[in-house]
Amino acid sequence: MSERIAWNEFIIGAIIRIAGFSTIGFVILIFAFLLQQGLPALNEVAPDNFLGTRWYPTFDLYGMMPLFLGSLLVTVTAILIALPLGISTAVYVREVAPQWAREILKPLIEVLAGIPSVVLGFFGMTVLAPFLRETLQLPTGLTAFTGALILAYMALPTMVSVAEDALDAVPKSYRDAALAMGATRWETIWRVSVPAARTGILTAIMLGIGRALGETMVVLMVTGNAARMPTTLGSLFLPVRTMTATIAAEMGEVAAGSVHYHVLFFIGILLFALTFLINLAAAPAILAKRRRGGLR
């Protein structure tokens, strides 16, 4: 009978270990597959073509600069919008709002994370883009800015939650010390609590960047998808094309194994590598936070 238990224990232990190890396997598998399918592009496309400014796959022009800069423009704008909104909201919810308001606000902000991105993209197309076109007198509402605005809101639930936890982790003694020296609560928030929470806030920014960089459907639906170089600040209010949207829009129409196919996988490698680095940078903070009990 105890023989049997020992056997059970051994087999179950083995199964559970395999489940645990499989995650590493998946990451490696994904990366290896992207490499295998994407690296041939480096042989098939000349470097100056790759680094060029024109993306016309039909004419074998694979200049990635417009796509890369498009992603960069949308992501940076989204973070610049989300950051003040996210931190102010976190501060308000954590430090200012009365209990009842907190109970309403927190779930409401989290609801946003439960809306599929394609629904937000749809809303962006049908409501936000026409609205921006008319208010800002633009030729089209499908612009980098429209995408960035929605991406900013999509980054908010994570950003608010991480920033709030960071504020929560600031020792009460810091605040008490500041208050005891005659600082107002307002001064305490901005001169003590927020600076002390900066690591957490930095994590929030990193996660937001990763999220915005990788988002596909929203940018595909609302940024207009014109692969042109965003050279001036005015480009913000013109259509752009991001790396993710390019894959989504073109992969369905290419032949497996063609140059275009390899190039799209190569863009996948770039996205994988970029988000990998970003998450690597944010990892220590995420792990620490998880140890304290709670990232969702």
């Binding site: 489940a19 597959f33 308000y92 690597l280 990232l295």
Partner: protein, 281 residues
């Protein structure tokens, strides 16, 4: 200016910014409900699309999404919960364990379109599953894995260590302790995590673009190797690819999809709240 007047102004400004965050959320939800409600009818929910999707219902898309989500559950729950049990109950703090944790964080951060590429390359082409429910479920399952693992591990770790010690002291093996005490106690948290993972899978579009989704397929799928329509992809298609699409059908589809994910979200939140109150420790 008086410092306390400054504080009062500051607080008001913060409240105003919070409203700027919250009001658009309500606007989006309200807009989709208000515009979409009119489209909802028996025929819309349970009928086949007709006239190039410009009329009729969205049943194949609803069924497709449900099937995909079930497929994800089938693959992701055993691996996810198993992985969480490994990390919380078996793994020691070694370089290798840290590598696993890092892998999970990175899986969570990989863009969904990259999962789509991977699914296309591995499942559709390499394994020859073709564009199918199976290929899509597997792709979405790997994407969902980190969500389920993280939430489950957290739930397992929340169970007091002492229970493990007591189990051992009474002659229980590690797995007996997990099965009889730890897992039952962590179950509510695990279920919450699983729901959150599944709702993410149900709402995703990019990973299924090249792995499952049928543009227009007015019949129910016949097997797991069949293509299928799915709600998120359907919404993308009818709002961008089909000229002359009645706006109401688009809104109706958006409403159905949003209702599905938000109700899952609500279930998870309520479950968590309910069990947190009844917890015995």
């Amino acid at each position: 200016m008086n410092r306390y007047a400054q504080q009062r102004l500051g607080f008001i400004a913060l409240g105003a910014v919070t409203l700027v965050v919250v009001i658009p959320i309500l606007l989006v939800i309200g807009n989709i409900i208000a515009q979409g409600l009119g489209a909802i009818s028996w025929e819309f929910l349970f009928g086949m699309p007709r006239a190039g999707m410009r009329a009729g219902g969205i049943l194949p898309a609803i069924v497709g999404t449900i099937l995909l989500t079930l497929g994800v559950a089938l693959f992701a729950i055993p691996f996810g919960v198993g992985g969480a049990i490994y990390l919380s109950e078996y793994a020691r703090d070694t370089t290798f364990t840290r590598a696993i944790r890092l892998a999970i964080i990175n899986l969570a951060g990989i863009p969904s379109i990259v999962y789509g590429l991977f699914g296309l390359g591995l499942f559709v082409l390499f394994f020859g599953l073709g564009v199918s429910i199976l290929a899509g479920s597997l792709t979405l399952a790997i994407m969902t894995l980190p969500v389920i693992i993280s939430a489950s591990e957290e739930a397992l770790r929340a169970v007091p260590t002492e229970f493990r010690t007591v189990n051992a002291s009474l002659g229980g093996t590690r797995w007996q302790g997990i099965r009889k005490i730890i897992l039952p106690q962590a179950l509510p948290g695990i279920i919450t995590g699983v729901i959150l993972g599944l709702l993410r899978a149900a709402g995703e579009t990019a990973p299924i673009l090249f792995t499952v989704a049928a543009f227009y397929l007015p019949r129910l799928p016949q097997s797991v190797f069949d293509q299928t329509m799915a709600l998120p992809y359907h919404l993308y298609v009818i709002s961008t690819q089909v000229p002359g699409m009645p706006l109401q059908i688009q809104y109706g589809t958006a409403l159905v999809l949003m209702t599905l994910t938000l109700s899952l979200n609500l279930t998870a939140t309520l479950l968590r709240r309910h069990f947190r109150k009844r917890r015995q420790w």
